[in-house]
């Protein structure tokens, strides 16, 4: 099956065994993201330290493999990053999955997140990958809900 470009082994593994899949009690920030077209729902929790470091990032919810793997990778990538770095990664990831950032040609900070590069070939799946990131972005900006619509 010629789908390995989208469903890489790591994406399927993370979708089944997501990291940081838990709530954070009394989280500093949280936001529920929803895709009304497919019913995916992801709540992102963030704790930020005094020096603006994301001390803990976690999520809960349900969704497709792309959405779950994206949320998992997001939480592990952002832990320990400064708020400004998180916002920069949000922007880079968003551009990556929309096909606007070529990780081979443009400087970036995406690291292993480049495994989502091929999402850009599946326009209807961009929202799946970016939903948890929108929730994170909105959480950090004091919004309680995010939607891909």
């Amino acid at each position: 099956m010629s789908n390995t470009s989208l469903y890489g082994e790591q994406i399927i593994y993370l979708s089944k065994h997501p990291k940081n899949f838990r709530p954070i009690e009394n989280a500093h920030y949280l936001c529920e993201g929803a895709n009304p077209l497919c019913g995916d729902r992801v709540t992102v929790y963030v704790n930020v330290g005094a020096d603006d470091t994301l001390e803990d990032v976690a999520f809960q919810g349900s969704g497709c493999a792309i959405c779950m793997a994206s949320a998992s990778m997001m939480t592990t990538s952002l832990k320990g990053k400064k708020r400004a770095e998180a916002e920069q990664l949000f922007d880079e990831f968003h551009r990556l999955v929309k096909g606007e950032l070529d990780p081979q040609r443009e400087a970036h900070h995406l690291g292993k997140l480049t495994m989502f590069e091929n999402v850009s070939h599946y326009p209807v799946r961009v929202k799946c990958a970016s939903l948890p990131w929108h929730a994170l972005h909105n959480a950090l900006n004091h919004q309680s809900a995010a939607s891909t619509e």
């Binding site: 469903y7 593994y13 969704g63 493999a65 959405c67």
Partner: protein
Amino acid sequence: MTAQAVLATPATLDAVALRSDFPTLRRTINGHPLVYLDSAATSQKPQVVIDRMNQFYAEEYSTVRRSIHLLSAKATQAYEGTRRTVAQFLNAPETRQIIFTKGTTEGINLVAHGYGRKFIGAGDEIIISATEHHANIVPWQMLCEEKGAHLRVIPVDDRGELILEAYEQMLTERTKLVAIGHISNALGTIHPVEDIIRLAHAHGVPVLVDGAQAAPHMPVDVQALDCDFYVFSGHKACGPTGIGVLYGKVELLERMNPFLGGGDMIETVTFEKTTYAPLPHKFEAGTPAIAEVIGLGAALDYLRGIGLEAIATYEHQLLEQATARLSSIPGVRIIGTAQRKAAIVSFTVDGIHPHDIGTLLDQEGIAIRAGHHCAQPVMARYGVPATARASFAFYNLPSEVEALGVAIEKTIAVFAL
């Protein structure tokens, strides 16, 4: 000559031959021959429909009814000819009972507006079913909110069959309308609309039947059903998008308020008062979708040429094959197992989200729908956020059912890491 002219017998059809009428079915997707299993969302178009609309635009284009030149007369003739075709298609007694709309959704909204806003008030009740798609929920909710009326919902059992005993108990003097899908788009259930209509009429309650999923797939006789309103869409019936039909009983249509104002829906206009045109034009404001109406006529002629009985019989064979094939795959759960079903198979696969199924099948050239099918309450009833849905038409083949089964097995293998 189209392939429909070489059908084997009236009781069956030659799907291989019919496929040659559909240009889209000749293409490949991701290197595989297209297997189009999304006809419940929208059907593919035969060449005769494409050609008829092209011909109208290229050689006959004009407006209808209002101009006196030859082209307009011809366009009007073709436009009203489709009205006769639709009347025959539904076995409506009179052509003036056929109203052209933008589609099923607009037809339901037209009745909610023209009938509901006039005859339904505070404390009244409207009955729908638990399997409706949003188009047959939201207009009634909006009406209820505006008028202080209440929506009652016929429950559905685990198989996807409506619980008629509960429905009977809902029918009271407060009931003012029943709006029911003929076939559930999410489950495939063919609802017992004959019983639903009979019981409603025993209480003097009119019934609207949403035939979006039925009219292209089985014979529909509005006189035999005795329904008060029947709606369907052109684009699910091999016709163009943006066109649909509302059938109504004359006495109800006559009593209803117009839906939209302007254009041909008037009889006389002064700044003091407007009188409305007689049926059907009272409900067709503005310049209509002329080419689409003419295309719809070609589509319905095409379907009648094949025969709706033959279509229903053939598609039922595909349903039985698909049900057996998918049921044999461990981890596959079919949602909706009613005794009377149309050729729609909604399913889930353990541990794999329907969107992932949809993408992986697309890689094999198989087009299905994955999501809530604009029927979120149905999904909630069965405890799933979404399903994968394979929906069949007469142009599908047994080999395509098998291709679906194989692709699902491949999908499961990909996720078995």
